[in-house]
Symmetry: none
Subunit: 377 residues, 2 copies
C-alpha cells in the first residue's frame, strides 16, 4: 500500500513531535476552525484559493453542442452574498490570527468574489500591497458572444497591517523576468496536461487546480527558504508541492478527505530542489500580436482613412471604427479584404495595404512597428 505509507509519513511528521508547525503536513478540517486552533503568529505566508461562489445556473454548451463542465460542487454554493461575506470574514480573521506580524497573505479569485474579499481584507486592517492579474494564455472562450472572454483571475497580496514589514525578493523576481522588474500582470497557462491530477476514471480530480507556475512565483516572491507556508483551502496540494520543492515548510488544510489524500500522495513524490535558482523559469518573450484595430483605437489611423492596396495602390478600402475595412462590395479584416480584392486565397494585410503620407505610400506595417515599440516601453 504505497499510498497508505505515503499518507502516514507526510501527515504525521514524527510520533514524538507535538508541534504541528515544526514540520509540514495536511490537516483535515474546516479552514477557519483549523486556523483558529493553531498557534498565533506562526505562519510566514498564507496562500488561499477559497470558493468563488460562481452562482452558475443551468448548463452551458459549446457551439458543437458539447457540455461545459462547470463548477457546481457543493463547496462552492452559498445562500447569499451575506452568507459568502460571513464565510470570508471568518476565515480571513482566522488567517490573521496565525499570520506573523511581518507575514503576508495571498488570495486568488474572480470577479464573482474578489471584490468582496478585497473589501473585507481592508475592513479587517490588512494592507494591500498589490493586486496581481493572472492572464491565462489559454482561457475558455465566451461561447455565446455576449461578453468579453473571461481570460484572467485576480490575486490580492496583502500585509497584515499598514506599516508592517514584508518579504519581497525583488532580485529573484527580476531574474525570473529577464532582468526586467516584475509587473502586476502575469501570463501563465491554465493547469492541464500531465500536471493536472486525474482520478481513478481519468477525469480531473479537482475542478479548479491551480498551475504550479503560479505558486512558484508567489512563493519565490514573498518567502525565504525555511519559511512556513499555509494553504487553508489546499485542494489537491499545488501549494504544498511547490513549497516543498522550493524548500519551504508547509501546512495544508483541506476539508475533503479525498483531496487531502491526493495532496499527501502528490507531495510525497516531490523532490526539493538542490538550488532554487536552477528551477527559475525564463520568461518567454514573443513578438507581441498587434491587431489592426488597435491602430484605430490609438488614433494612428482615423476611421474613414483610405487604404491603398498593392505596390501601386490599385485597390482602395476605407477604415471602420472597429478595425474592419470596407470596399464597394465587402467588409472584413485587412487580410480578408486584401485577399478578396486580389482574388487571392490569402493575403498579409500588413504588407499589402498602405496609407498616404507626404505623397508617399507607406505600408501600415510601419504603424504596427510603432505600436510595438510603445509596448516595449
Amino acid at each position: 500500500m504505497v499510498r497508505q505509507a505515503a499518507l502516514s509519513r507526510e501527515s504525521v511528521p514524527t510520533p514524538d513531535n507535538t508541534d504541528p508547525l515544526a514540520e509540514s503536513g495536511v490537516c483535515e478540517g474546516e479552514a477557519a476552525a483549523m486556523m483558529r486552533a493553531m498557534p498565533a503568529k506562526s505562519v510566514d505566508l498564507v496562500f488561499a484559493d477559497p470558493p468563488y461562489n460562481l452562482q452558475l445556473e443551468g448548463e452551458l454548451t459549446r457551439p458543437n453542442h458539447t457540455r461545459v463542465d462547470g463548477v457546481d460542487d457543493a463547496w462552492d454554493q452559498f445562500d447569499s452574498l451575506e452568507a459568502y461575506d460571513r464565510f470570508t470574514r471568518s476565515w480571513l480573521q482566522a488567517a490573521r490570527h496565525v499570520l506573523k506580524d511581518d507575514g503576508t497573505l495571498w488570495v486568488i479569485g474572480s470577479y464573482h468574489n474578489i471584490f468582496r474579499v478585497g473589501a473585507i481584507l481592508q475592513d479587517l486592517g490588512f494592507w494591500l500591497l498589490n493586486d496581481i492579474v493572472w492572464n491565462k494564455t489559454n482561457p475558455m472562450p465566451n461561447f455565446r458572444g455576449r461578453r468579453f472572454a473571461n481570460a484572467h483571475e485576480t490575486l490580492i497580496w496583502a500585509a497584515k497591517s499598514k506599516g508592517a514589514r514584508h518579504t519581497f525578493n525583488h532580485h529573484s523576481m527580476k531574474a525570473l523576468n529577464d532582468d526586467l522588474q516584475m509587473r502586476s500582470d502575469w501570463e501563465i497557462p491554465v493547469c492541464g496536461g500531465s500536471e493536472r491530477i486525474k482520478d481513478a476514471h481519468g477525469n480531473k480530480a479537482h475542478p479548479t487546480q491551480k498551475p504550479e507556475a503560479l505558486l512558484h512565483r508567489v512563493i519565490l516572491a514573498s518567502t525565504q527558504p525555511g519559511d512556513m507556508v499555509l494553504d487553508p483551502f489546499a485542494g489537491t496540494g499545488t501549494t504544498p508541492a511547490v513549497a516543498k520543492r522550493l524548500r519551504r515548510r508547509w501546512l495544508a488544510i483541506e476539508n475533503d478527505p479525498d483531496y487531502a489524500a491526493l495532496t499527501r500522495e502528490r507531495v510525497h513524490h516531490v523532490q526539493p530542489v538542490k538550488d532554487t535558482r536552477l528551477v527559475e523559469a525564463q520568461a518567454r518573450r514573443r513578438q507581441p500580436r498587434v491587431p489592426f484595430g488597435w491602430l484605430v483605437e490609438r488614433g494612428l489611423i482615423e476611421p474613414g482613412t483610405i487604404l491603398h492596396g498593392g505596390a501601386k495602390g490599385q485597390h482602395q478600402a476605407k477604415v471602420r471604427a472597429d478595425g474592419n475595412i470596407v470596399t464597394t462590395d465587402a467588409t472584413g479584416s485587412i487580410h480578408k479584404i486584401g485577399a478578396h480584392v486580389q482574388g487571392a486565397p490569402s493575403c498579409n494585410g500588413w504588407q499589402f495595404w498602405h496609407i498616404e503620407q507626404d505623397d508617399k505610400l507607406i505600408p501600415i506595417d510601419v504603424l504596427r512597428q510603432r505600436v510595438r515599440a510603445e509596448m516595449e516601453g
Copy 2:
C-alpha cells in the same frame, strides 16, 4: 435652475432646446446630485472614473499611489473607508437612477478603491458582466523594489440587474482584435504625448487623464450610435471626445469649472466620423427575420427540392410547399430536422442545409441573404 445655468456653449446647441438629453453637453456640479436631478432611465451607458478616495488628502493629485510614506498617518483608516463607501454608494445609486433598465455601467479604478466599488455594485443589485484589466504598456516602475510594479488598472462592467439585457457588439470587438474574440485583458498605453491635455504652463492639466483608446473600446463595445453616454466624473473630457467622434450622444458632469471648460474646448474640436456606417456595429441581430417558407413562396426553392445536410451532404431532406422539410422518419422546420438527423439538441438550419447548384453545395443561408437584399431595395 442650476442645471440650465451650467449648460453652456457645447451643451445647448440651439437656444430653444430645453431638454439636456436631446443633445450633448457639460454640466457643472457634484456627480451624485446632478444625476439624481436627471430624468430616470434616460442613459444607455455610464462610464465613471471616480476619485480613488475622496476623503484622503493629496490622493487626487498623485496618480502614482506614493502615499505609503506615512504622509497621512493622522487619518483614521476605518472612518475613511466608511466615508469613501458612503460616497461610492451615493453616486452609484444615482447612476442606477439615470440608467435605462438595459443600460450598462463601467467603473475604472485601482486596488485602492476597486474592491469597495465592486462590492457596493453587487450590494446595490448591479450584475457584473466582466472585470477588465487595462494592462499599461508603459507603467510607472516601482522604484523601491518592495512590490510588483503596479502595471494595470481594473474596469468593472455591469448590467443594471441580474437577467437584464445589455448591448455587446461582439462582432465589432472581434473585428478590433483581428477576428479573435476580445479578452478581458487589454493592452493599451497610458495617456501621454500630444493626446495629453496641457494647462497654460505646459503641465499636464489633469493627473489621471485616460487614453482615448480605452474609451474607444468601451463605447464601441457597449453602445450603438446615437446612444446616450454619461460620464459623471468627466475630468478633461476623454469620454465626451470619443463619444462624439463615434457619433454617440453624451453628457458630462464635472465639479471643477476649469476641467469643465477644458472639456468643452476639447470636444468642440472633435470631428465625428463622417460616414455613420463606419461606427455602427455589424448588427446581425437587426437584420429582418426571414422564415424558410418565404424562400419557397418566392420561388427561390421549389417544393420537392432535396436539401443536403452537413459539410459533405451526408443527410438529405425534401422541401414541402409549406416550408417544412421531410426525411424518412420526420417532418418539421429546417432547424428541428437538422437537429434530429444529427442527434443534436439544436441546430441552425440556415447553415446546416445546402442545395446543389452547378455541382456545388451552397448553404441555404445564401438564399436568405438574397431575400434580405430584395427587402432592402
